[in-house]
Protein backbone atom coordinates (compact mmCIF):
# COMPACT_ATOMS: atom_id res chain seq x y z
CA UNK A 1 0.00 0.00 0.00
CA UNK A 2 1.35 3.44 -0.92
CA UNK A 3 2.16 5.54 2.09
CA UNK A 4 1.60 9.29 2.31
CA UNK A 5 2.63 11.76 4.97
CA UNK A 6 0.65 14.99 5.00
CA UNK A 7 2.75 17.77 6.47
CA UNK A 8 0.43 20.32 8.01
CA UNK A 9 -2.16 17.57 8.07
CA UNK A 10 -4.01 19.01 11.06
CA UNK A 11 -4.77 22.24 9.22
CA UNK A 12 -7.79 23.22 7.18
CA UNK A 13 -6.53 21.88 3.85
CA UNK A 14 -4.27 19.21 5.35
CA UNK A 15 -7.09 17.42 7.19
CA UNK A 16 -9.15 17.23 4.02
CA UNK A 17 -6.17 16.13 1.92
CA UNK A 18 -5.50 13.32 4.39
CA UNK A 19 -9.12 12.12 4.00
CA UNK A 20 -8.93 12.31 0.20
CA UNK A 21 -5.84 10.09 0.11
CA UNK A 22 -7.45 7.62 2.51
CA UNK A 23 -10.51 7.38 0.27
CA UNK A 24 -8.19 6.47 -2.60
CA UNK A 25 -6.69 3.64 -0.62
CA UNK A 26 -3.45 5.24 0.55
CA UNK A 27 -2.08 4.71 4.02
CA UNK A 28 -1.96 8.20 5.50
CA UNK A 29 0.02 9.69 8.36
CA UNK A 30 -0.34 13.23 9.54
CA UNK A 31 2.56 15.35 10.69
CA UNK A 32 2.06 18.78 12.19
CA UNK A 33 2.75 20.91 15.23
CA UNK A 34 -0.31 19.35 16.79
CA UNK A 35 1.29 15.92 16.43
CA UNK A 36 4.40 17.32 18.09
CA UNK A 37 6.67 18.08 15.14
CA UNK A 38 7.94 21.57 14.38
CA UNK A 39 8.77 21.38 10.66
CA UNK A 40 11.07 24.40 10.89
CA UNK A 41 13.64 22.08 12.42
CA UNK A 42 15.23 19.44 10.28
CA UNK A 43 16.23 16.77 12.79
CA UNK A 44 12.82 15.97 14.31
CA UNK A 45 11.16 16.04 10.90
CA UNK A 46 13.79 13.82 9.34
CA UNK A 47 13.62 11.36 12.25
CA UNK A 48 9.85 11.21 11.87
CA UNK A 49 10.04 10.63 8.10
CA UNK A 50 12.65 7.90 8.47
CA UNK A 51 10.45 6.19 11.03
CA UNK A 52 7.29 6.51 8.96
CA UNK A 53 9.05 5.82 5.66
CA UNK A 54 6.39 7.16 3.25
CA UNK A 55 6.49 7.11 -0.55
CA UNK A 56 5.02 10.59 -0.82
CA UNK A 57 5.25 13.79 1.24
CA UNK A 58 2.49 16.34 0.69
CA UNK A 59 3.50 19.76 1.98
CA UNK A 60 0.36 21.56 3.18
CA UNK A 61 2.01 23.21 6.16
CA UNK A 62 1.88 26.96 6.29
CA UNK A 63 1.91 29.88 8.62
CA UNK A 64 -1.13 31.42 7.05
CA UNK A 65 -3.60 34.24 7.46
CA UNK A 66 -5.45 36.72 5.32
CA UNK A 67 -3.97 39.99 4.08
CA UNK A 68 -4.57 41.67 7.43
CA UNK A 69 -2.52 38.99 9.15
CA UNK A 70 0.26 39.25 6.55
CA UNK A 71 0.43 43.00 7.18
CA UNK A 72 0.61 42.49 10.93
CA UNK A 73 3.23 39.73 11.04
CA UNK A 74 5.26 39.88 7.80
CA UNK A 75 8.51 38.63 9.35
CA UNK A 76 7.01 35.58 11.04
CA UNK A 77 4.99 34.73 7.92
CA UNK A 78 8.07 34.95 5.70
CA UNK A 79 10.52 33.21 8.01
CA UNK A 80 8.28 30.37 9.14
CA UNK A 81 7.09 29.54 5.64
CA UNK A 82 10.58 29.74 4.20
CA UNK A 83 12.02 27.49 6.88
CA UNK A 84 9.20 24.94 6.74
CA UNK A 85 9.57 24.55 2.97
CA UNK A 86 13.35 24.45 3.06
CA UNK A 87 13.41 21.85 5.81
CA UNK A 88 10.61 19.74 4.34
CA UNK A 89 12.26 19.38 0.94
CA UNK A 90 15.67 18.56 2.42
CA UNK A 91 14.21 16.08 4.89
CA UNK A 92 12.22 14.41 2.10
CA UNK A 93 15.40 14.03 0.08
CA UNK A 94 17.42 12.67 2.97
CA UNK A 95 14.63 10.23 3.82
CA UNK A 96 14.55 9.07 0.16
CA UNK A 97 10.88 9.91 -0.30
CA UNK A 98 9.93 9.28 -3.92
CA UNK A 99 7.65 12.24 -4.49
CA UNK A 100 7.32 15.67 -2.90
CA UNK A 101 4.07 17.57 -3.43
CA UNK A 102 4.26 21.35 -2.95
CA UNK A 103 0.95 23.16 -2.49
CA UNK A 104 1.18 26.77 -3.65
CA UNK A 105 -1.35 29.61 -3.28
CA UNK A 106 -2.33 31.49 -6.44
CA UNK A 107 -1.16 34.76 -4.88
CA UNK A 108 2.31 33.67 -6.09
CA UNK A 109 1.26 34.79 -9.57
CA UNK A 110 2.07 38.36 -10.64
CA UNK A 111 -0.22 40.80 -8.83
CA UNK A 112 -1.33 42.47 -12.05
CA UNK A 113 -2.10 39.32 -13.97
CA UNK A 114 -5.78 38.77 -14.86
CA UNK A 115 -5.69 35.17 -15.89
CA UNK A 116 -3.19 32.97 -14.11
CA UNK A 117 -1.51 30.92 -16.80
CA UNK A 118 1.29 28.59 -15.70
CA UNK A 119 3.77 29.97 -18.24
CA UNK A 120 3.41 33.49 -16.80
CA UNK A 121 4.14 32.53 -13.18
CA UNK A 122 7.40 34.52 -13.04
CA UNK A 123 6.33 37.37 -15.31
CA UNK A 124 5.84 40.15 -12.79
CA UNK A 125 6.01 41.07 -9.11
CA UNK A 126 3.59 39.55 -6.62
CA UNK A 127 1.11 41.86 -4.96
CA UNK A 128 2.80 43.42 -1.89
CA UNK A 129 -0.01 42.28 0.42
CA UNK A 130 0.91 38.63 -0.17
CA UNK A 131 4.62 38.88 -0.89
CA UNK A 132 5.89 37.48 2.41
CA UNK A 133 3.51 34.53 2.14
CA UNK A 134 4.03 33.82 -1.55
CA UNK A 135 7.79 34.25 -1.94
CA UNK A 136 8.74 31.25 0.23
CA UNK A 137 6.61 28.99 -1.99
CA UNK A 138 8.30 30.26 -5.15
CA UNK A 139 11.70 29.85 -3.51
CA UNK A 140 10.70 26.28 -2.71
CA UNK A 141 10.00 25.64 -6.38
CA UNK A 142 13.54 26.80 -7.25
CA UNK A 143 14.94 24.66 -4.44
CA UNK A 144 13.04 21.64 -5.78
CA UNK A 145 14.21 22.38 -9.31
CA UNK A 146 17.83 22.54 -8.13
CA UNK A 147 17.34 19.31 -6.21
CA UNK A 148 15.92 17.56 -9.24
CA UNK A 149 18.86 18.74 -11.36
CA UNK A 150 21.49 17.63 -8.90
CA UNK A 151 20.02 14.68 -7.04
CA UNK A 152 17.06 13.54 -9.14
CA UNK A 153 14.53 14.26 -6.38
CA UNK A 154 11.04 14.22 -7.86
CA UNK A 155 8.48 16.87 -6.98
CA UNK A 156 5.25 18.38 -8.28
CA UNK A 157 3.96 21.87 -7.63
CA UNK A 158 0.24 22.58 -7.55
CA UNK A 159 -1.20 26.09 -7.52
CA UNK A 160 -4.58 26.54 -5.84
CA UNK A 161 -7.02 29.43 -5.52
CA UNK A 162 -8.53 30.57 -2.21
CA UNK A 163 -10.13 27.68 -0.41
CA UNK A 164 -13.23 27.56 1.75
CA UNK A 165 -15.31 24.97 3.48
CA UNK A 166 -15.96 23.27 6.80
CA UNK A 167 -12.99 23.62 9.14
CA UNK A 168 -11.72 26.93 7.70
CA UNK A 169 -10.11 29.47 10.01
CA UNK A 170 -12.84 31.65 11.39
CA UNK A 171 -10.48 33.73 13.48
CA UNK A 172 -11.15 37.34 12.57
CA UNK A 173 -7.48 38.11 11.90
CA UNK A 174 -6.39 34.94 10.17
CA UNK A 175 -9.39 33.97 8.10
CA UNK A 176 -9.59 34.50 4.35
CA UNK A 177 -12.30 36.77 2.99
CA UNK A 178 -14.99 34.11 2.69
CA UNK A 179 -14.45 32.65 6.16
CA UNK A 180 -14.45 36.17 7.62
CA UNK A 181 -17.68 37.02 5.80
CA UNK A 182 -19.45 33.94 7.07
CA UNK A 183 -18.36 34.62 10.61
CA UNK A 184 -19.35 38.28 10.53
CA UNK A 185 -22.75 37.65 8.96
CA UNK A 186 -23.74 34.66 11.08
CA UNK A 187 -22.57 36.47 14.23
CA UNK A 188 -24.52 39.58 13.20
CA UNK A 189 -27.65 37.51 12.72
CA UNK A 190 -27.26 35.82 16.10
CA UNK A 191 -26.67 39.17 17.82
CA UNK A 192 -29.48 40.93 15.96
CA UNK A 193 -27.10 43.41 14.32
CA UNK A 194 -28.29 44.79 10.97
CA UNK A 195 -25.03 46.14 9.55
CA UNK A 196 -21.81 44.36 8.60
CA UNK A 197 -18.57 46.03 7.56
CA UNK A 198 -16.66 44.56 4.65
CA UNK A 199 -13.04 45.50 4.02
CA UNK A 200 -12.30 47.04 0.65
CA UNK A 201 -14.56 48.08 -2.19
CA UNK A 202 -16.25 44.71 -2.66
CA UNK A 203 -15.13 44.74 -6.29
CA UNK A 204 -12.13 42.46 -5.94
CA UNK A 205 -12.68 39.26 -7.90
CA UNK A 206 -11.53 35.99 -6.43
CA UNK A 207 -11.86 32.37 -7.30
CA UNK A 208 -13.11 30.07 -4.55
CA UNK A 209 -12.54 26.38 -4.41
CA UNK A 210 -14.34 24.08 -2.03
CA UNK A 211 -11.73 22.43 0.14
CA UNK A 212 -12.86 18.87 -0.60
CA UNK A 213 -12.55 19.53 -4.31
CA UNK A 214 -9.05 20.90 -3.76
CA UNK A 215 -8.04 17.82 -1.78
CA UNK A 216 -9.52 15.55 -4.45
CA UNK A 217 -7.55 17.38 -7.17
CA UNK A 218 -4.33 17.18 -5.15
CA UNK A 219 -4.69 13.43 -4.65
CA UNK A 220 -5.44 12.91 -8.34
CA UNK A 221 -2.51 15.08 -9.48
CA UNK A 222 -0.20 13.23 -7.08
CA UNK A 223 -1.14 9.99 -8.83
CA UNK A 224 -0.90 11.13 -12.42
CA UNK A 225 1.28 14.26 -12.73
CA UNK A 226 5.06 13.98 -12.69
CA UNK A 227 6.49 17.17 -14.12
CA UNK A 228 8.33 19.82 -12.11
CA UNK A 229 6.57 22.69 -13.88
CA UNK A 230 3.68 24.10 -11.86
CA UNK A 231 0.11 22.91 -12.46
CA UNK A 232 -2.97 24.98 -11.63
CA UNK A 233 -5.97 23.40 -9.91
CA UNK A 234 -9.18 25.40 -9.82
CA UNK A 235 -12.57 26.15 -11.31
CA UNK A 236 -11.48 28.91 -13.68
CA UNK A 237 -14.36 31.13 -12.55
CA UNK A 238 -14.39 34.10 -10.19
CA UNK A 239 -16.84 36.05 -8.10
CA UNK A 240 -16.71 39.56 -6.58
CA UNK A 241 -16.55 39.94 -2.81
CA UNK A 242 -19.88 41.79 -3.10
CA UNK A 243 -21.61 38.86 -4.83
CA UNK A 244 -20.03 36.52 -2.37
CA UNK A 245 -21.41 38.59 0.52
CA UNK A 246 -24.87 38.39 -1.03
CA UNK A 247 -24.63 34.60 -1.27
CA UNK A 248 -23.61 34.38 2.37
CA UNK A 249 -26.44 36.69 3.36
CA UNK A 250 -28.95 34.43 1.59
CA UNK A 251 -27.35 31.28 2.98
CA UNK A 252 -27.41 32.66 6.53
CA UNK A 253 -30.89 34.15 6.04
CA UNK A 254 -29.81 37.55 7.41
CA UNK A 255 -31.64 40.76 6.48
CA UNK A 256 -29.03 43.43 7.20
CA UNK A 257 -26.93 45.63 4.96
CA UNK A 258 -23.24 45.85 4.03
CA UNK A 259 -20.92 48.82 4.53
CA UNK A 260 -17.80 48.72 2.37
CA UNK A 261 -14.79 50.18 4.17
CA UNK A 262 -12.75 51.53 1.27
CA UNK A 263 -9.92 52.60 3.61
CA UNK A 264 -8.93 48.96 3.82
CA UNK A 265 -6.92 47.35 1.02
CA UNK A 266 -8.56 45.19 -1.65
CA UNK A 267 -5.46 43.20 -2.42
CA UNK A 268 -5.00 42.25 -6.06
CA UNK A 269 -8.03 43.28 -8.15
CA UNK A 270 -8.63 39.96 -9.89
CA UNK A 271 -7.43 36.43 -9.55
CA UNK A 272 -8.71 33.74 -11.90
CA UNK A 273 -6.89 30.53 -12.65
CA UNK A 274 -6.35 29.22 -16.17
CA UNK A 275 -7.44 25.59 -15.99
CA UNK A 276 -6.60 24.44 -19.52
CA UNK A 277 -3.46 22.56 -18.52
CA UNK A 278 -5.37 20.97 -15.62
CA UNK A 279 -8.13 19.74 -17.92
CA UNK A 280 -5.57 18.24 -20.32
CA UNK A 281 -3.43 16.70 -17.57
CA UNK A 282 -6.06 15.31 -15.23
CA UNK A 283 -8.28 13.72 -17.86
CA UNK A 284 -11.00 16.36 -17.78
CA UNK A 285 -11.28 16.48 -13.99
CA UNK A 286 -12.83 19.63 -12.53
CA UNK A 287 -14.11 20.71 -9.11
CA UNK A 288 -17.67 19.45 -8.53
CA UNK A 289 -19.04 21.70 -5.81
CA UNK A 290 -21.27 24.62 -6.73
CA UNK A 291 -20.32 27.83 -4.85
CA UNK A 292 -23.79 28.31 -3.31
CA UNK A 293 -23.95 24.72 -2.10
CA UNK A 294 -20.42 24.93 -0.71
CA UNK A 295 -21.22 28.15 1.13
CA UNK A 296 -24.37 26.59 2.62
CA UNK A 297 -22.36 23.65 3.95
CA UNK A 298 -19.72 25.97 5.34
CA UNK A 299 -22.33 28.09 7.10
CA UNK A 300 -23.88 24.95 8.63
CA UNK A 301 -20.48 23.87 9.90
CA UNK A 302 -19.75 27.29 11.35
CA UNK A 303 -23.11 27.53 13.09
CA UNK A 304 -22.52 24.11 14.70
CA UNK A 305 -18.95 24.89 15.80
CA UNK A 306 -19.33 28.57 16.54
CA UNK A 307 -19.08 28.38 20.32
CA UNK A 308 -15.87 26.32 20.24
CA UNK A 309 -14.31 28.56 17.59
CA UNK A 310 -15.01 31.73 19.54
CA UNK A 311 -13.29 30.18 22.56
CA UNK A 312 -10.32 29.02 20.52
CA UNK A 313 -9.94 32.40 18.79
CA UNK A 314 -9.92 34.18 22.13
CA UNK A 315 -7.26 31.79 23.40
CA UNK A 316 -5.17 32.23 20.28
CA UNK A 317 -5.24 36.00 20.45
CA UNK A 318 -4.40 35.88 24.15
CA UNK A 319 -1.46 33.60 23.38
CA UNK A 320 -0.32 35.88 20.56
CA UNK A 321 -0.49 38.90 22.85
CA UNK A 322 1.93 37.35 25.31
Amino acid sequence: MTRVVVLGGSGFLGTTVASAFKRRGFQVDVCSRRTGIDARQEQPLLAYLRRTNPDILVHCAAHVGGIAYNAKCPVAVYEDNLLIGFTALRAARHANIKKFVNIIPNCTYPGKMDLYTELGWWDGPMHPTVLTYGMPRKALWVHAWASQQESGQQSIHLVLPNLYGPGDHFDIIRSHALGALIRKIVDAKQAGIDEVEIWGTGNAIREWMYVEDAADGIALATECYNDIEILNLGCGRGCTIRDLAEMVREGADWQGRFVFNTDKPDGAPRKIIDTRKMAATLGGWSPRTDLRAGIARTIDWYVKHREAIVDEATMTSTAAAR
Binding site: Y78, E79, L82, D123, A146, S151
Partner: protein
Protein backbone atom coordinates in the same frame (compact mmCIF):
# COMPACT_ATOMS: atom_id res chain seq x y z
CA UNK B 1 35.40 54.15 15.17
CA UNK B 2 32.44 52.68 13.31
CA UNK B 3 32.68 49.00 12.60
CA UNK B 4 31.63 47.05 9.57
CA UNK B 5 31.40 43.32 8.94
CA UNK B 6 31.82 41.93 5.44
CA UNK B 7 30.48 38.49 4.68
CA UNK B 8 32.61 37.02 1.91
CA UNK B 9 35.22 39.70 2.58
CA UNK B 10 38.03 37.49 1.29
CA UNK B 11 36.53 37.20 -2.20
CA UNK B 12 37.31 39.28 -5.28
CA UNK B 13 34.80 42.07 -4.65
CA UNK B 14 34.88 41.66 -0.86
CA UNK B 15 38.61 42.44 -0.69
CA UNK B 16 38.10 45.70 -2.57
CA UNK B 17 35.03 46.63 -0.55
CA UNK B 18 37.00 45.99 2.62
CA UNK B 19 39.82 48.27 1.42
CA UNK B 20 37.37 51.01 0.39
CA UNK B 21 35.69 51.08 3.81
CA UNK B 22 39.04 50.98 5.60
CA UNK B 23 40.02 54.02 3.52
CA UNK B 24 36.96 55.84 4.86
CA UNK B 25 38.00 55.23 8.44
CA UNK B 26 35.90 52.15 9.24
CA UNK B 27 37.17 49.27 11.29
CA UNK B 28 36.57 46.35 8.96
CA UNK B 29 35.95 42.79 10.14
CA UNK B 30 35.89 40.04 7.58
CA UNK B 31 33.59 37.15 8.32
CA UNK B 32 34.08 33.91 6.46
CA UNK B 33 34.33 30.20 7.00
CA UNK B 34 38.12 30.58 7.10
CA UNK B 35 37.83 32.56 10.34
CA UNK B 36 35.52 30.02 11.87
CA UNK B 37 32.05 31.45 11.30
CA UNK B 38 29.75 29.24 9.27
CA UNK B 39 27.07 31.80 8.41
CA UNK B 40 24.62 29.07 7.37
CA UNK B 41 24.29 27.79 10.93
CA UNK B 42 21.47 29.20 12.98
CA UNK B 43 22.82 31.73 15.47
CA UNK B 44 26.51 31.56 14.43
CA UNK B 45 26.56 34.87 12.62
CA UNK B 46 24.34 36.56 15.21
CA UNK B 47 26.84 35.60 17.91
CA UNK B 48 29.69 37.03 15.83
CA UNK B 49 27.79 40.28 15.21
CA UNK B 50 26.89 40.65 18.87
CA UNK B 51 30.57 40.32 19.73
CA UNK B 52 31.84 42.82 17.11
CA UNK B 53 28.82 45.14 17.31
CA UNK B 54 29.11 46.65 13.81
CA UNK B 55 26.99 49.45 12.34
CA UNK B 56 26.91 47.77 8.93
CA UNK B 57 26.78 44.21 7.56
CA UNK B 58 27.60 43.71 3.88
CA UNK B 59 26.77 40.42 2.21
CA UNK B 60 29.29 39.80 -0.58
CA UNK B 61 29.30 36.06 0.11
CA UNK B 62 28.43 33.94 -2.84
CA UNK B 63 28.62 30.21 -3.26
CA UNK B 64 28.97 29.88 -6.98
CA UNK B 65 31.47 29.58 -9.74
CA UNK B 66 31.76 29.20 -13.45
CA UNK B 67 28.93 27.97 -15.65
CA UNK B 68 29.93 24.31 -15.48
CA UNK B 69 30.30 24.36 -11.68
CA UNK B 70 26.87 26.01 -11.37
CA UNK B 71 25.33 23.44 -13.69
CA UNK B 72 26.72 20.55 -11.64
CA UNK B 73 25.93 21.85 -8.15
CA UNK B 74 22.69 23.85 -8.22
CA UNK B 75 21.39 22.25 -5.03
CA UNK B 76 24.45 22.99 -2.88
CA UNK B 77 24.60 26.48 -4.31
CA UNK B 78 20.93 27.17 -3.64
CA UNK B 79 20.93 25.82 -0.10
CA UNK B 80 24.14 27.61 0.94
CA UNK B 81 23.18 30.95 -0.57
CA UNK B 82 19.64 30.82 0.74
CA UNK B 83 20.71 29.99 4.28
CA UNK B 84 23.57 32.53 4.37
CA UNK B 85 21.20 35.31 3.31
CA UNK B 86 18.44 34.16 5.63
CA UNK B 87 20.71 33.92 8.67
CA UNK B 88 22.43 37.21 7.79
CA UNK B 89 19.19 39.16 7.88
CA UNK B 90 17.99 37.51 11.07
CA UNK B 91 21.37 38.19 12.66
CA UNK B 92 21.22 41.85 11.63
CA UNK B 93 17.81 42.19 13.29
CA UNK B 94 18.91 40.32 16.40
CA UNK B 95 22.23 42.11 16.89
CA UNK B 96 20.80 45.58 16.25
CA UNK B 97 22.97 46.28 13.18
CA UNK B 98 21.79 49.54 11.61
CA UNK B 99 22.40 48.83 7.92
CA UNK B 100 22.31 45.68 5.81
CA UNK B 101 23.84 45.82 2.32
CA UNK B 102 22.81 43.15 -0.16
CA UNK B 103 25.17 42.91 -3.15
CA UNK B 104 23.68 41.29 -6.22
CA UNK B 105 24.69 40.45 -9.76
CA UNK B 106 22.90 41.53 -12.93
CA UNK B 107 21.74 37.95 -13.41
CA UNK B 108 19.13 38.63 -10.71
CA UNK B 109 17.34 40.39 -13.58
CA UNK B 110 15.07 38.37 -15.88
CA UNK B 111 17.07 36.24 -18.32
CA UNK B 112 15.58 37.97 -21.35
CA UNK B 113 16.11 41.59 -20.18
CA UNK B 114 18.43 43.67 -22.38
CA UNK B 115 18.33 46.98 -20.58
CA UNK B 116 18.38 46.40 -16.84
CA UNK B 117 15.83 48.77 -15.35
CA UNK B 118 15.15 48.62 -11.62
CA UNK B 119 11.39 48.79 -12.18
CA UNK B 120 11.53 45.59 -14.24
CA UNK B 121 13.52 43.45 -11.83
CA UNK B 122 10.63 41.07 -11.18
CA UNK B 123 9.30 40.99 -14.73
CA UNK B 124 10.37 37.56 -15.88
CA UNK B 125 12.04 34.31 -14.90
CA UNK B 126 15.74 34.08 -14.09
CA UNK B 127 17.95 32.34 -16.60
CA UNK B 128 18.10 28.64 -15.60
CA UNK B 129 21.92 28.71 -15.47
CA UNK B 130 21.85 31.20 -12.57
CA UNK B 131 18.53 30.43 -10.89
CA UNK B 132 20.07 28.61 -7.91
CA UNK B 133 22.58 31.39 -7.29
CA UNK B 134 20.30 34.36 -7.79
CA UNK B 135 16.88 33.43 -6.43
CA UNK B 136 18.32 33.50 -2.88
CA UNK B 137 19.43 37.13 -3.45
CA UNK B 138 15.90 38.07 -4.44
CA UNK B 139 14.57 36.22 -1.41
CA UNK B 140 16.88 38.40 0.72
CA UNK B 141 15.21 41.44 -0.70
CA UNK B 142 11.76 40.13 0.30
CA UNK B 143 13.05 39.16 3.75
CA UNK B 144 14.49 42.67 4.33
CA UNK B 145 11.27 44.18 3.07
CA UNK B 146 9.30 42.06 5.58
CA UNK B 147 11.38 43.48 8.45
CA UNK B 148 10.79 46.97 7.17
CA UNK B 149 7.02 46.37 6.98
CA UNK B 150 7.18 45.09 10.52
CA UNK B 151 8.80 48.36 11.54
CA UNK B 152 11.94 46.71 12.94
CA UNK B 153 14.79 49.20 13.04
CA UNK B 154 17.41 48.34 10.44
CA UNK B 155 17.82 49.97 7.08
CA UNK B 156 18.75 47.84 4.08
CA UNK B 157 20.00 48.64 0.60
CA UNK B 158 20.03 46.27 -2.35
CA UNK B 159 22.59 46.97 -5.05
CA UNK B 160 22.79 45.32 -8.46
CA UNK B 161 26.17 45.26 -10.20
CA UNK B 162 27.26 44.26 -13.70
CA UNK B 163 30.15 41.94 -14.55
CA UNK B 164 33.27 43.05 -12.76
CA UNK B 165 36.94 42.93 -13.62
CA UNK B 166 40.15 44.12 -12.04
CA UNK B 167 43.07 43.08 -9.89
CA UNK B 168 42.37 40.17 -7.61
CA UNK B 169 39.93 38.28 -9.86
CA UNK B 170 39.99 34.49 -9.63
CA UNK B 171 42.97 33.10 -11.50
CA UNK B 172 41.41 29.72 -12.03
CA UNK B 173 40.02 30.02 -15.59
CA UNK B 174 36.83 28.13 -14.66
CA UNK B 175 36.05 30.68 -11.90
CA UNK B 176 37.35 33.96 -13.34
CA UNK B 177 35.20 36.51 -15.16
CA UNK B 178 35.17 36.54 -18.96
CA UNK B 179 37.39 39.60 -19.23
CA UNK B 180 40.17 38.15 -17.08
CA UNK B 181 39.84 34.87 -18.97
CA UNK B 182 40.35 36.75 -22.22
CA UNK B 183 43.45 38.50 -20.88
CA UNK B 184 44.85 35.12 -19.93
CA UNK B 185 44.17 33.63 -23.33
CA UNK B 186 45.87 36.46 -25.21
CA UNK B 187 48.76 36.64 -22.77
CA UNK B 188 49.33 32.89 -23.12
CA UNK B 189 49.22 33.19 -26.92
CA UNK B 190 51.84 35.92 -26.78
CA UNK B 191 54.06 33.93 -24.44
CA UNK B 192 53.90 30.81 -26.60
CA UNK B 193 54.36 32.74 -29.83
CA UNK B 194 50.92 31.76 -31.12
CA UNK B 195 49.37 34.10 -33.70
CA UNK B 196 45.81 32.97 -33.29
CA UNK B 197 43.26 33.18 -30.48
CA UNK B 198 39.84 31.66 -30.75
CA UNK B 199 36.85 33.55 -29.37
CA UNK B 200 33.45 31.94 -28.95
CA UNK B 201 30.64 33.56 -30.91
CA UNK B 202 30.66 36.46 -33.34
CA UNK B 203 32.29 38.94 -30.95
CA UNK B 204 29.33 41.26 -31.44
CA UNK B 205 27.42 40.87 -28.16
CA UNK B 206 27.68 43.95 -25.99
CA UNK B 207 28.15 43.66 -22.23
CA UNK B 208 28.81 46.10 -19.46
CA UNK B 209 31.99 45.87 -17.37
CA UNK B 210 32.57 47.56 -14.03
CA UNK B 211 36.06 48.06 -12.66
CA UNK B 212 36.10 46.44 -9.23
CA UNK B 213 37.50 49.47 -7.39
CA UNK B 214 34.69 51.59 -8.83
CA UNK B 215 32.21 48.96 -7.66
CA UNK B 216 33.62 49.18 -4.15
CA UNK B 217 33.44 52.97 -4.18
CA UNK B 218 29.87 52.89 -5.43
CA UNK B 219 28.94 50.53 -2.60
CA UNK B 220 30.51 52.87 -0.03
CA UNK B 221 28.60 55.81 -1.48
CA UNK B 222 25.29 53.98 -1.61
CA UNK B 223 25.77 52.83 1.99
CA UNK B 224 26.18 56.45 3.00
CA UNK B 225 23.60 58.14 0.84
CA UNK B 226 20.92 55.84 -0.48
CA UNK B 227 17.81 55.52 1.66
CA UNK B 228 15.38 53.40 -0.34
CA UNK B 229 14.77 49.69 0.06
CA UNK B 230 14.08 49.38 -3.67
CA UNK B 231 17.00 47.97 -5.64
CA UNK B 232 19.62 50.33 -7.10
CA UNK B 233 21.82 49.62 -10.13
CA UNK B 234 25.50 50.52 -9.87
CA UNK B 235 27.26 50.67 -13.23
CA UNK B 236 28.49 52.84 -16.05
CA UNK B 237 25.47 52.26 -18.25
CA UNK B 238 27.89 51.74 -21.12
CA UNK B 239 28.53 48.54 -22.98
CA UNK B 240 31.39 47.21 -24.99
CA UNK B 241 31.41 44.41 -27.57
CA UNK B 242 33.51 41.31 -27.05
CA UNK B 243 35.40 42.30 -30.22
CA UNK B 244 36.30 45.74 -28.82
CA UNK B 245 37.42 44.15 -25.57
CA UNK B 246 39.63 41.70 -27.43
CA UNK B 247 41.14 44.45 -29.60
CA UNK B 248 41.89 46.61 -26.55
CA UNK B 249 43.62 43.74 -24.78
CA UNK B 250 45.62 42.89 -27.94
CA UNK B 251 46.84 46.48 -28.17
CA UNK B 252 47.73 46.79 -24.50
CA UNK B 253 49.54 43.45 -24.47
CA UNK B 254 51.20 44.29 -27.78
CA UNK B 255 50.36 40.91 -29.26
CA UNK B 256 50.60 40.72 -33.07
CA UNK B 257 48.13 37.87 -33.61
CA UNK B 258 44.63 37.49 -35.07
CA UNK B 259 41.30 36.56 -33.52
CA UNK B 260 39.26 33.75 -34.90
CA UNK B 261 35.55 34.10 -34.09
CA UNK B 262 33.90 30.73 -33.81
CA UNK B 263 30.41 31.66 -34.99
CA UNK B 264 29.21 28.10 -34.50
CA UNK B 265 29.12 28.98 -30.79
CA UNK B 266 26.03 30.82 -29.54
CA UNK B 267 26.23 34.56 -28.89
CA UNK B 268 23.56 34.87 -26.26
CA UNK B 269 21.72 38.19 -26.08
CA UNK B 270 23.07 40.93 -28.33
CA UNK B 271 23.22 43.62 -25.70
CA UNK B 272 22.98 43.70 -21.90
CA UNK B 273 23.50 47.05 -20.20
CA UNK B 274 22.30 48.92 -17.12
CA UNK B 275 19.96 51.84 -16.85
CA UNK B 276 21.87 54.00 -14.33
CA UNK B 277 19.62 57.07 -14.26
CA UNK B 278 18.46 56.28 -10.73
CA UNK B 279 22.07 55.86 -9.55
CA UNK B 280 23.11 59.21 -11.03
CA UNK B 281 20.19 60.96 -9.37
CA UNK B 282 20.61 59.24 -6.01
CA UNK B 283 24.42 59.29 -5.66
CA UNK B 284 25.42 62.13 -8.01
CA UNK B 285 28.22 59.83 -9.14
CA UNK B 286 29.38 57.70 -12.04
CA UNK B 287 32.21 55.12 -12.04
CA UNK B 288 35.36 57.15 -12.81
CA UNK B 289 37.61 54.48 -14.36
CA UNK B 290 37.76 54.40 -18.15
CA UNK B 291 37.43 50.85 -19.48
CA UNK B 292 40.86 51.06 -21.15
CA UNK B 293 42.56 52.21 -17.93
CA UNK B 294 40.84 49.49 -15.97
CA UNK B 295 41.94 46.86 -18.47
CA UNK B 296 45.52 48.17 -18.31
CA UNK B 297 45.57 47.88 -14.51
CA UNK B 298 44.09 44.41 -14.71
CA UNK B 299 46.71 43.34 -17.25
CA UNK B 300 49.51 44.73 -15.03
CA UNK B 301 48.16 42.79 -12.11
CA UNK B 302 47.64 39.62 -14.13
CA UNK B 303 51.11 39.68 -15.68
CA UNK B 304 52.53 40.33 -12.20
CA UNK B 305 50.86 37.19 -10.81
CA UNK B 306 52.19 35.11 -13.70
CA UNK B 307 55.74 36.38 -13.19
CA UNK B 308 55.44 35.73 -9.48
CA UNK B 309 54.27 32.18 -10.21
CA UNK B 310 57.11 31.68 -12.68
CA UNK B 311 59.64 33.06 -10.16
CA UNK B 312 58.33 30.70 -7.48
CA UNK B 313 58.98 27.71 -9.72
Amino acid sequence: MEKIVILGGNGFLGTHVSRAFTGRGYEVHVCSRSNGVDARKDGALAAFLEKVNPAILINCAQHGGGISYNAEHPLDIYEDNLMIGFQAIRAVAQAGVKLFVNIMGNTTYPGVANIYRESEWWNGPLHPSVMATELPRKAQWVHSWAYRQQGCGFRSIHLVLPNMFGPGDHLDPSQSHALTALIRKIWEAKRSGSKRVEIWGSGKPIREWLYVEDAAEGIVRAAGEFEGIEILNLGSGQGCSVRELAETIRELLDWPGEFFYDTARPDGALCKIFDVSKMKAALDWTPPTELRDGIRKTIDWFVGTQHATAAAH
